[in-house]
């Protein structure tokens, strides 16, 4: 009896300690974004004058300043980013599913070799071929277009691997056999039966694909040079390189907020799938 009480007391103490530590990490994860949110609502003079944990009254003014800025085209950059990321994600998800299905559903001679090859190239960074990539797109007259940022998404090894894992766990071959008996052609089966069955995996990969394209800085910096083509990360780099002393800090924080908050909003809506997805695509102990 006495021992039990002592034990339950110690577990309460441990639990309390755990919550303190967890709250600490939650706070440091959120703190910088909180300051961003606060400062995006404050006027330049207030930001210069001092630090505050409470929002100011200049949200609308800062928002309009960013919206109407004619040299730093953040809104235009957002539209470009949205365009590139949307097409990228459609291509990578569809064709990764197709590639995974090709290996999952059919037996052919080089199946194993091809699968191993894709797995092997999965972690090789794209930066090692950056030089050849720049040369190639210059040669193909694709510089200052979105094509070299979108088309390569068709070959996305990590997305492929996730799709393949998902198919192994939840795509029975009987469904494919049944479709064949019904006389459905292979492409038709893939588009109308398989793709809908992959919805959960597609949702997870759509989020990851979208954010990684939205956040991508290295590749667009090699491809896009004109102001009207720039995506958001390129504008962030531009702001960083500009003369800081002349900046309206309220507007500056609002520009950063434009790049960060759309993803946070999407994340908060879909966080359950995302956190599950991270675990799903991982190695088990």
């Amino acid at each position: 009896m006495g021992k039990e009480i002592k034990e339950s007391g110690s577990i309460h103490l441990r639990r309390f300690f755990c919550y303190i530590v967890l709250i600490f990490f939650a706070v440091i994860s959120l703190f910088s974004f909180y300051l961003l949110l606060i400062n995006a609502t404050r006027a330049h003079v207030d930001i210069q004058r001092g630090f505050s944990l409470l929002p100011g009254k200049s949200f609308v003014r800062n928002f309009n300043n960013v919206w109407n800025n004619e040299t730093i085209l953040i809104v235009h950059g957002m539209v470009n980013s949205l365009f590139v990321s949307s097409l990228t994600v459609i291509l990578s998800v569809y064709f990764s599913a197709m590639t995974a299905y090709g290996i999952h559903a059919y037996d052919f001679r080089f199946k194993k070799v091809i699968f191993d090859f894709i797995l092997l190239i999965m972690t090789i960074p794209t930066q090692v071929s950056a030089l050849g990539f720049v040369k190639l797109i210059t040669f193909m007259h694709l510089k200052d277009t979105f094509v070299p940022l979108i088309i390569p998404a068709i070959a996305a090894p990590a997305c492929f691997f996730f799709m393949k894992q998902y198919m192994e766990s939840s795509l029975p071959m009987e469904i494919i056999e049944a479709a064949r008996i019904d006389g459905s052609s292979e492409i038709h089966t893939f588009n109308t039966i398989i793709i809908p069955l992959l919805k959960p995996a597609i949702a997870v990969q759509a989020i990851f694909g979208f954010t990684s394209s939205w956040n991508n800085y290295f590749a667009p910096s090699l491809v896009l040079t004109k102001a009207q083509d720039k995506t958001l990360p390129l504008w962030i780099a531009y702001i960083r390189g500009a003369d800081f002393t002349k900046f309206d800090m309220g507007q500056l924080y609002m520009m950063i907020a434009f790049s960060i908050f759309p993803v946070i909003v999407i994340y908060l809506i879909l966080s359950k799938f995302i956190v599950q997805g991270v675990a799903l695509g991982s190695v088990k102990g």
Binding site: I11, R15, V21, L22, F25, A26, S29, L30, S32, F33, N39, Q48, G50, F51, T99, Y101, G102, I103, A105, Y106, F108, L119, L120, I121, T123, P125, Q127, S129, A130, L131, P148, A155, R180, E186, F190, T211, W214, N215, Y217, F218, P233, I236, A237, I239, G241, M249, L252, I256, S259, I260, V263, Y267, L268, S271, V278, A279, S282, V283, K284, G285
Partner: protein, 306 residues
């Protein structure tokens, strides 16, 4: 052989579809990744750079670019920078993630709101790294909010110049890396821990093992494959470190190039159109990351076989 063909005629005729479904992936991979990679390697053997407005080369120079890279000393310095900043971010990341993952999966502790905490700590992973670096640059500026807060609290009299000292700049980058990745690592380690047979923990508890004994005696050894995976993929990611230091230091790698990473170095060669050196550097990066990729591959294969 013939008999099986007769019995399963359909099976054979579908084979070609396997190849057809692979065509888009491999044609795009060949054009946008494989050919660029080969041509990158090819350039590494040539002297080819811009001198003012004049293009020098391309002239075949054998391994001269590699010799130059290794003897100039910059490569070594930038490799060191990259690895130091990676370690500074990775060590706290793996320790905190192990701790949090152990707590989240502990059946006796039964913590509440774990979904909320996981959601919060994973969030920085999806943030645009360049915007995150820009945010840190403004927050940690000499007259930025963090310095104002420290002065208000009386923790410092004069503002701290975070970005003008090597340790300060490197710490900021390591801290951003930590914040962006510890949530992800926690979730990966949790998945690994939940794969461990609960009976093992129960048996240990019956035998009166302390939480630390359970953790070091059962959890850690069984977690080795996933720890290897996390570490190697993190190292591969660390070697690609670019957005954070590039934006934080405006591409200068300041102070005194002590935060200049390997990919920033590559990026500088690309923008100054020094193609020979960029090619040689890419080959070196390919060899290192290629070797590490084989390790990841082995872990994944072992997992799939079991």
């Amino acid at each position: 052989m013939k008999a099986s063909k007769v019995r399963k005629p359909k099976h054979v005729s579908y084979t070609k579809w396997g190849y057809i479904f692979l065509i888009p992936f491999f044609s795009v991979y060949a054009v946008f990744s494989f050919i660029p990679m080969i041509s990158t390697f090819y350039y590494s053997f040539f002297e080819n750079f811009m001198s003012g407005l004049k293009m020098i080369g391309p002239k075949y120079v054998g391994l001269d670019n590699f010799v130059k890279l290794f003897t100039e000393g910059d490569l070594l310095k930038y490799t060191e920078n990259t690895l130091i900043m990676w370690v500074m971010g990775f060590v706290p990341q793996i320790l905190v993630s192990l701790l949090l993952a152990a707590w989240f999966t502990n059946t006796r502790l039964k913590l509440k709101f774990t979904g909320f905490f996981k959601t919060v700590i994973y969030m920085p992973n999806l943030i645009m790294a360049s915007a995150f670096a820009m945010l840190f640059f403004t927050l940690f500026a000499n007259n930025g909010p963090v310095n104002m807060m420290l002065m208000n609290l009386g923790l410092t009299k004069e503002s701290i110049h975070f970005m003008s000292s090597t340790i300060g700049a490197r710490s900021l980058i390591a801290m951003m890396n930590f914040l962006m990745w510890f949530g992800n690592t926690t979730i990966l380690l949790m998945a690994g821990m939940m794969g461990i047979d609960v009976a093992l923990f129960e048996a240990a508890e019956v035998d009166g093992a302390t939480p630390w004994q359970i953790f070091s005696g059962i959890t850690m050894p069984l977690l080795r494959p996933i720890m290897a995976y996390v570490m190697v993929t993190s190292l591969i990611g660390g070697l690609q470190m670019f957005d954070l230091p590039q934006i934080l230091t405006n591409g200068q790698g300041g102070p005194d190039r002590t935060t200049m990473t390997l990919i920033m170095y590559l990026n500088n060669h690309l923008f100054s159109k020094n193609y020979g050196m960029a090619g040689a550097l890419s080959v070196i990066l390919f060899v290192i990351t290629g070797a590490l990729s084989i390790l990841v591959f082995k872990v994944l294969m072992r997992q799939r076989e079991s």
